[in-house]
Subunit: 263 residues, 2 copies
DNA sequence: GAGTGGTCTAGACCACCGG
DNA sequence: CGGTGGTCTAGACCACTCT
């Protein structure tokens, strides 16, 4: 392993056995702190699938010995991953790779709430999967190879027994080979991504607009045509930063709303 | 000062001269870490107005001596305040009380972006202020005394020269005495709150719905009646956690959208 | 009781800013 | 150049979980 960044503060005798692996997104030049290098090393093991979701990581003590840095530096790296919800830490139990369980889906990725502010997970009442050619923009955004296909998923989803949401999902057929084997798709589709396709969605960006329901929307949602509906365009990103899912939802917002926290 | 929490780890000789001041929101019972007590002590000085926005705080070293805790503990307290955007830290310069400058308003509190994803601050093209009686729910939410009045502000705001947004703001007349002296209100109204009314907005919760434009909306926004518009209901909270502002916006979303990051 | 993460302390050096 | 926050280390004790 190549040493770097000595730059090694403290009383320390240990010269860190941490390879440089710089190039953190969103950092300016000049210098990469040791704990960020450690963070990246740990992240690489998650990206490669060496540590699957749900796995118990080695303890801080073990990692600090393995990586040749102090326990405090390992702690800072794990705290950074924890802040990004990539790992979950439990006092007395250990540090685990975050899973897309129902709670995470509900609080990180599903922003529809009822008028009391409670979030309710929707049930899927209709689901369709087909292979198709991408549009130019889909191909560009998903970084597809020339002539690479996409999967198109259409789902209708109900809250409290009423169909409230119609969504179309677009995925690279190369990244999700044999997706059709898993039909019918589970309600929690991000759990499917991570269990069968080594793809963990960690972050998403949504664009919201008010639009008029199309004739098809009206049919699906049981409302009149031209009814105002909330259109949500989502781009979802994996651990390595790649855009892996495009999604467009149209949602009735009479009994429910989209909740956004500004902080 | 009353000691508590000894509970004092480390080699330390120092018994912390930090009063208990427990009761952190969202904490379970049992115990309050020292750095959270320090955080609350610092926060109290901000709430009281003893440290105004823009103020340079004492250095970590000075604070650690003043409060009788280690520099590392002061650091953790300041890092927590920094994570909540309550203070801003600059290496080599010091720690400052956060201000509602244009950048903060743009990135923390204004979520409308153009199709390239760039956020543009809107200009106010019409503004009206009047004193009025609150509705029952307004009185309850804002915690008004019986017969306490409210201010109602109506503003029309333009992006790139086109009126895109109509908003109504409701404030306690008691909390904002003599607000009418400041007419015409500045475009950055949160800066007004903090400069003249010792009220710093730190957090807000928004509820989004797609609704049909009313006749009045259509007139203001220059669109047809029943056009789908994005309705944004905001509740804004001050440093002490009190709800201080209610706001309803209606926004055209043909050239712009509401951007929401899920992470 | 053993092991984990969480807190607290102490001290050193580094990167950055201003005068 | 002195002062600030940022990083790194080392070691102790605490709260929590599981066996």
């Amino acid at each position: 392993m190549t040493d770097s960044n000595d730059g090694n503060g403290g009383t320390g005798a240990a010269t860190a056995s941490v390879s440089s692996s710089s190039g953190r997104a969103g950092m300016q030049l000049g210098y990469t702190p040791l704990y960020m290098q450690v963070r990246q090393q740990l992240l690489d093991k998650l990206i490669s699938g060496e540590w699957q979701p749900g796995t118990l990581l080695p303890s801080e003590q073990q990692l600090s010995v393995q990586m040749g840095v102090s326990q405090g530096t390992v702690r800072k790296a794990l705290d950074a991953l924890s802040a990004d919800r990539i790992v979950v830490r439990h006092q007395g139990r250990g540090t685990f790779v975050a899973e897309h369980d129902q709670r995470r889906t509900l609080f990180q990725f599903f922003k529809i709430a009822d008028d009391k502010g409670d979030r309710v997970l929707p049930e899927t009442v209709y689901s369709q999967l087909k292979r198709a050619e991408p549009s130019a923009s889909e191909s560009r955004l998903l970084g597809l190879r020339p002539k690479g296909d996409v999967w198109r998923i259409v789902r209708h989803r109900a809250l409290k027994g009423r169909v409230m949401l119609s969504e179309q999902i677009v995925l690279s057929a190369d990244r999700f080979p044999g997706l059709d084997v898993h039909v019918p798709l589970p309600n929690n589709i991000y759990e499917l991504y991570e269990r069968h396709f080594v793809t963990t969605v960690t972050r998403a960006a949504e664009q919201l607009r008010a639009v008029a329901a199309s004739a098809e929307d009206a049919d699906v949602l049981g409302c009149s045509e031209h009814m105002p509906v909330l259109q949500i365009d989502r781009q979802a990103f994996a651990l390595n930063g790649a855009l892996v899912e495009l999604r467009r939802s149209r949602c009735l917002t009479e009994q429910f709303h989209y909740a956004s926290d500004l902080r």
